[in-house]
């Protein structure tokens, strides 16, 4: 029973939440303006008397302003008006105002002592917002001289940075660490053992650069991995809020193809802002909820927020409700951007209330040009796309290269990524990368290559503490990053061979230039029993049958099938597949169920609903013989049907004595045809490829699941450019007992045992090499061997595999 302590726990919880600086001052120590006083002003005063706010004409922005106000009396500190205000009990005059919390005794005492001590103020300090205004135009920085023969521009900049600070240059990582890091970073997968061996054995001095090139030229792997990044950035997903009421459109296929083709980033942005077709329209159209929404979330305002955040790293969410307190953007500017998108006059609302002003379409940086508010909408969007992507808009390039740097190096040059008004910790580095992007036709892969080939990227990651809000970031090397949910699951599937059978994203994903194959041309028809006016009685259940004889034993084969509404498929009496959603065709390797001689396929098919409606069954398959020749079996007029009578018992179907009739070819509904071309065809194409050439299904191509959500994949209702970097307890529970993960590990264990002939040494070696890209240390080898025993059983292997997959070393991209 722990309830008794509940009340007592509360104060403890509170003290953790309040920044320690609150209690930092010692009675005896001198008051430090920056550390002691600034936080108090920020908490209590600056919202109304700092930045652009100066209520009652009083501002705390600078020391001069405070002294000029007369609120502080340096000659007689204790009679300062400021102290009177903050200690007053008069609810009409007291500060903070009576509807806000009082300042604490300690805070008041600090202010009193600060005034008594002469109200010291660090010369550079101000609360005003515009202290740092990032440059807009691009700038090509002059590179410092190279040190220690490190010529790479990034290294020249960072080596100089470190030298100025007397900081050591982080040591380089070994080949294996580089290999794992680069593979996870650029295509999101673990390197295989074979890749590891080849890479380590390779004596080419340029092998790292060449490997980066190889990874980046894997257009499918690259697209699979970076799709996650862009889905987060553009809040695109395959399921989520809004789809149910058709208030949201995907850009999945457009996005995926853009990544496969490595479309220049300026073109991508143009097509997102001013969509040439509906394929990329989903981004600017946002998410429309049914019913009324607040003024700060109308579609034009969502447009303003999304465009500003995704492409410029501007948080327009504040300014779309009122002039921002945190940066220079105003309500008028947020609405100006929104009006570019709006189809009708847009009235400005402050905090959800109209202020009697109509927005005029305008771009955020008029020094680069402007949109014509009188032009039609399509033209306005075009003009915006032009202004956004003009090489003169350095902000656009800086924003995206900063995001890429963050992905590869673990910490933005400007950080957080969506506060691009913040001063970068190295302006030259940011500007250099931005210039590289623009001068290479906005080629994102080029920038990734530049980063990944630098010594900085290839150096040991920093051991870091949790970054706090007021901390000064000092670059000391890359930071380890937690695997994303997608990287983690892809890695698990890669290691266990247990990836899901098919993708859910509505995209076409094939190797470039697939070999045309006669085999892959679909020949099946939709079939059923007799139709009445093209329909089938509601609730009707039939058995469909096909008999065929094979002259030789088969060595391989595959079937893809679906049914409107449901089916169960039996081959020679064994149930091998079932489906309840015709939109989700099933894909099954059926070669082990057929045999030399006579074979029977039977399918119990059911038409749901309680009224007549169209129904159909679709079956496409191939079988291969040992001489390489193939045969095809598909649903067509040669099939027979009977009305379902006998039930399947114990998974077996008994059709003895039944009377069979020829089936009818059902005219395909257009929705069916869509499923065939978009899903059945790719599944068949995939099935004819040799196993090692098949594309593994990647987590980025699946709908969000509870497990992925738990592991940090966002819901994508909002733009998310930075995911949580730690693991929570609820996630850890999932990692410990989630059923699909446990299933994958079980499958993986069986596979590992089979591929190593159950040899303990081999199991340990393979596991460490494939999961961690290194060999186990003697101590690790001893521990794992002890746990496995001489004749490892599957459960022992599962547990070892789990333990390795949970190591921070595995879960981090280091």
């Amino acid at each position: 029973m722990t309830r008794l302590i509940a009340r007592a726990v509360l104060p403890v919880a509170i003290s953790i939440l309040i920044p320690l600086t609150l209690f930092a001052e010692e009675a005896s120590s001198a008051i430090d303006f920056v550390h002691d006083v600034v936080p108090i002003f920020k908490r209590n005063c600056v919202h109304c008397h700092g930045g652009r706010e100066a209520e009652g004409d009083f501002t705390l922005n600078t020391r001069d302003a405070v002294l000029d106000s007369g609120f502080i009396d340096l000659d007689d500190p204790n009679s300062s008006y400021l102290l009177e205000l903050i200690t007053s009990n008069d609810t009409d005059t007291q500060m903070p105002p009576s509807d806000r919390p009082r300042m604490s005794v300690e805070e008041i005492e600090t202010i009193r002592r600060w005034i008594a001590g002469g109200a010291s103020w660090d010369a550079d300090f101000t609360f005003s917002i515009r202290t740092y205004e990032p440059p807009l135009r691009p700038r090509s920085p002059e590179l410092p001289v190279s040190r220690n023969g490190r010529e790479h521009p990034i290294d020249r900049i960072l080596d100089e940075y470190l030298a100025v600070r007397d900081l050591p240059v982080p040591p380089p990582v070994d080949d294996a660490t580089f290999l794992r890091r680069a593979t996870l970073d650029l295509i999101g997968l673990l390197p295989s053992e074979k890749q590891l061996d080849e890479f380590l054995a390779n004596s080419d001095a340029n092998k790292r650069e060449k490997y980066v090139d190889t990874l980046l030229s894997d257009s499918v792997g690259y697209a699979d991995h970076w799709l996650t990044f862009f889905n987060d950035l553009l809040r695109n997903d395959y399921s989520g809020t809004g789809f149910i009421t058709k208030g949201r459109k995907q850009i999945s296929d457009w996005l995926y193809q853009s990544l496969v083709d490595n479309k220049p980033f300026n073109e991508m942005a143009r097509e997102l802002i001013a969509p040439p077709t509906d394929e990329s329209r989903g981004f600017i159209d946002g998410i429309k909820w049914r019913g009324e929404v607040s003024a700060g979330q109308t579609l034009p305002i969502q447009f303003s927020q999304s465009v500003a955040q995704s492409f410029l790293g501007i948080n327009m969410k504040c300014a779309s409700c009122h002039d921002s307190f945190i940066d220079r953007w105003t309500l008028k500017e947020a609405y100006g951007l929104a009006a570019i998108y709006a189809t009708k006059p847009l009235e400005l609302h402050r905090c959800d209330r109209p202020i009697g002003e109509t927005a005029q379409a305008a771009w955020l940086f008029p020094e680069l040009g402007d949109v014509d508010p009188e032009a039609p909408r399509e033209q306005r969007l075009q003009q915006l796309a032009d202004l956004m992507t003009t090489p003169e808009n350095g902000r656009f390039a800086r924003t995206i290269v900063n995001r890429l740097w963050y992905r590869l190096m673990g910490r933005g040059i400007v950080h957080p990524l969506d506060a691009m008004q913040t001063e970068p910790w190295n302006e030259d580095l940011l500007d250099y990368l931005a210039t590289e992007l623009v001068s290479n036709d906005f080629d994102l892969k080029h920038v990734l290559k530049v980063i990944a080939t630098s010594s900085a990227y290839q150096s040991r990651s920093e051991v870091s503490g949790e970054e706090t809000a007021n901390e000064i970031y000092i670059y000391r090397g890359p930071r380890a990053r937690r695997m994303t949910a997608e990287q983690f699951l892809d890695s698990v599937w890669h290691l266990t061979g247990n990836a899901p059978a098919k993708i859910e994203a509505p995209i076409s994903r094939e190797r470039p230039q697939p070999k045309p194959s006669k085999l892959t041309k679909l020949q099946a028809h939709w079939i059923w029993g007799p139709l009445e006016n093209g329909s089938v009685p509601g609730g009707q259940q039939l058995v469909l049958k096909k008999e065929f004889t094979l002259a030789d034993p088969v060595v391989g084969g595959h079937a893809v099938l679906t049914c409107d509404n449901r089916f169960r498929l039996y081959v020679n009496g064994e149930m091998i597949s079932s489906g309840t959603h015709w939109q989700n065709p099933q894909s099954v390797d059926w070669s082990t169920y057929v045999s030399h001689g006579k074979n029977t396929i039977e399918a119990i098919v059911t038409n749901d609903l309680d009224r007549p409606n169209p129904a159909g069954f679709y079956f496409e398959s191939w079988l291969e013989f040992s001489d390489g020749s193939q045969t095809r079996i598909q649903s067509d007029e040669s099939w027979m049907y009977r009305v379902s009578g006998s039930e399947a018992i114990d998974g077996k179907l008994d059709s003895a004595d039944a009377v069979w009739h020829p089936v009818t070819i059902v005219p395909a509904l257009s929705a069916w045809t869509e499923v065939v071309t978009q899903q059945v065809q790719p599944l068949i194409n995939e099935s004819v490829m040799p196993a090692h050439e098949r594309l593994m299904v990647r987590a980025s191509l699946l709908k969000n699941t509870a497990l992925m959500k738990s592991l940090g994949r966002p819901m994508r209702e909002q733009i998310v450019s930075m995911r949580p970097d730690t693991i929570t307890t609820l996630e850890a529970i999932d990692l410990a007992n989630e059923s699909t993960l446990a299933e994958s590990i079980a499958v993986g264990a069986e596979r590992l045992i089979a591929s190593t002939n159950a040899d303990t040494d081999q199991i340990v070696l393979t596991l460490f090499r494939s999961a961690l890209s290194r060999e186990p240390t003697p101590e690790e080898r001893r521990l794992v061997t002890q746990s496995l025993g001489e004749h490892p059983d599957p459960t022992a292997v599962q547990d070892v595999m789990w333990a390795v997959l949970m190591l921070p070393e595995f879960l981090l991209v280091r």
Partner: protein, 485 residues
Amino acid sequence: MNFSGDHGVPERVLRREFLNRLSAAGAAALASGVPRLLANDSLGAIEHPQPRADACILLWMAGGMAAPDTFDPKRYHPFEKGLPVKEMLSTFPAIDTAVDDIKICQGLENIASVMDRGTLIRSHVQPDLGSILHSRHQYHWHTGYVPPQTVAAPHLGAWMSRVLGAPNDVMPAFINIGQRLEGIGESEELKAFTTAGFFGSEFGPMNLPYPDQAAVSVRPPKGMQSQRFADRNRLFRKLVDASPDRDRMSDYQQESMLRSMDAAYRLLSSKDREAFDITLEPRESFEKYDTGRFGQGCLLARRLVESGARFVEVTTEYVPFLHWDTHNDGHTTTARMHREIDRPIAQLIRDLEDRKLLDRTLVIVASEFSRDALMEGKPGSNANDQAREKVDALGEMKHYGLHRHFTGGSSVLMFGGGIKKGQLYGSTAPERPLVAIENPVSIEDLHATIMTAMGISPRMGYEIEGRPFYVTEDGKGRSVDALFA
């Protein structure tokens, strides 16, 4: 890492960089993804009343529970062919309760018998959000904010989890029982608020859609005996220690990962996890609750709160057009819902009382809005009429019931946690429109009341992306003091 502990960097460089960053109005911190507690206020003393609850159970009547057919009976008309729909107010007669001046609907006799333990609010009102989408109103009710929002709003359970944690630190603080989030209509919209939002998943719900399967969620993987589970964990810890990377373990990411792994292991191997297993409940007690998933959920909630969970929601489950979401055949469906909720709710109250937990456990029975036979939304609303059978007079039984969504006045029950006993608060008009006419209680104020009871100031807030975000919308909620004893 702190200012003075930064080795090797010249002091002047640090000082300058520190100032620069601070001067940028703390923009970096403000706009970062990590929420910060707002200034000193937030946890400031709650003047009145003193918080008494340390656990909260929300019994959610998902889909719009019709007040006139549950806790706010009006003029009753039995089914009668040809009865004009406009004559239909309540489809159940009123019955007496343990409190003299409170009558509720027939079918809720058990709840009637515990009415003297709590307060019945009949004047809860919701804003009209235009065309009704249940999940949107549920989002509003559960987070206090109308979707969409520019930041992901936390569920009220996540607020309690974030601010208070769980009384028993082995237990998850926020547990959500009975709602499937996959394979049903509007599931994505439900997920949108069944979340800790910007607080991060640490404070999010543990979802247990099937109470009788809940034990599985906190068990080692299927088929793994506890000895093997312990061995596996031991191997993991040894491998962590043996890692050549061990010297780099001061890294906070690695440390926090290990802490979480450890916390998960402690729950999955602890005695406390038995709280999740309702099959361990004595037969007799189990049967008192067992009216189905909701009843079992109430039992599970009691066990979890006994073991130190902070916030537990049990829902009758929202599935479009099912359960309380009566778009037709409302009377028959409501009669079934009465049977489903009546016994377990009353039993929960009695059990908590017997265990001396009721005073410290706030139990709330609420729904996203009420229903009416005639009126969609509230007077003056332009919401679409979503009744499935649009008739002027009753033709058959399926026309009998309250088939439209009504936001002008609904009922909420509150028990325990310092709430006044045997009280009726607020009222609705005796004739249509059945709007709240006395002491209306908004969502903000109801939340403020709940949070106050739990010891959280309604004005508590966090700063996220530079925006102050409060536990009640814009910090405006005021607790309804009259509800407290």
